[in-house]
Symmetry: C2
Subunit: 110 residues, 2 copies
Amino acid sequence: MDLYSLSDRGIQAELGARIRALRLRKNVTQIALAEATTLSLNVIKSLESGRGKLSTLIAVLRELGALEQLNSFIPELSISPLQLARMQGRHRERASGKRLKDKSKDRPEW
Amino acid sequence: MDLYSLSDRGIQAELGARIRALRLRKNVTQIALAEATTLSLNVIKSLESGRGKLSTLIAVLRELGALEQLNSFIPELSISPLQLARMQGRHRERASGKRLKDKSKDRPEW
DNA sequence: TATTAACAGCCTATTAATAGGCTCTAGATA
DNA sequence: TATCTAGAGCCTATTAATAGGCTGTTAATA
C-alpha cells in the first residue's frame, strides 16, 4: 500500500486498524489491554480509531509485544558518503539558515 | 538496539531523536518544518523531545518523506495457518471473553 | 438459537498538547 | 573570531486527549 496516497486522517485510521488487528490476533479484549497498560478503556478505543498520543501507542505496542517494529519505523540513520563529504564528517546539530548579507562590509550609498 | 530494554519514556526520547536526525539530514529548520506542516514551532520542538499526538508524527513524517516507514512499523498482518485453523478461516471482530457458567442449567440448592 | 460479554457511542471533569509569543544561548558561517 | 540565526526554554490561552461512568447493540459462544 502506498501511504502517500492516503490523507493524514486515512493513515491514522489505517494505523488504528492495524493495532486492532494485532490485538485481535492475540485474542485480547480492549478491557484487558486497558488494564495491562494502566490506560483507560476510552484511550484504547481512541487509539484503534487512530487518535491519541505517542505515549499511548508505545505502551500498547509494548503490551502486544510489537515494539521491535518501532525500529523499522524510524530507523537509526546511516549517513551517506555524500553527506559525509558535505559535512566533513561532523554531525549537524542545527540546520543551516540562509544568512543575510553582512552589511558592515557594504560600501555606503553616498 | 533492543527497545524492550528501554522505558516508555526512553523510547519516546529515542523516537524524537530519530525524527530530529531525519530533519537535520535534510538540513531543514524547525521553523521551515512547522510552516510546511502548518503546525506550530512548539509542536515540532515537543515532537523532537518525544511528546505529542499521532497526527503530529504522521504530518512530520510525510513532510520529511519518511511515510513509507509506517508500513514496516505496523505491518498488515498475515494470518498464520495455526490461527486459520482455530478461526476456521473467519476473522475475529471481537476478542473472546471467559463466559460465566450458565446458571439456568444448575440444579437448585433445595 | 438464547445468552452474555465485547464494544461503540455518549457524557462530564481533568490533564496534556497545541498555538503564539517572548528572551537567551550557542552552533554555523563569513 | 565576530556575527547571525537555529533552537531551547518559558509564558498564557485554547483545544484535544484522557479517566471514569453509563446505555444500547451484536458477535461469539454454549
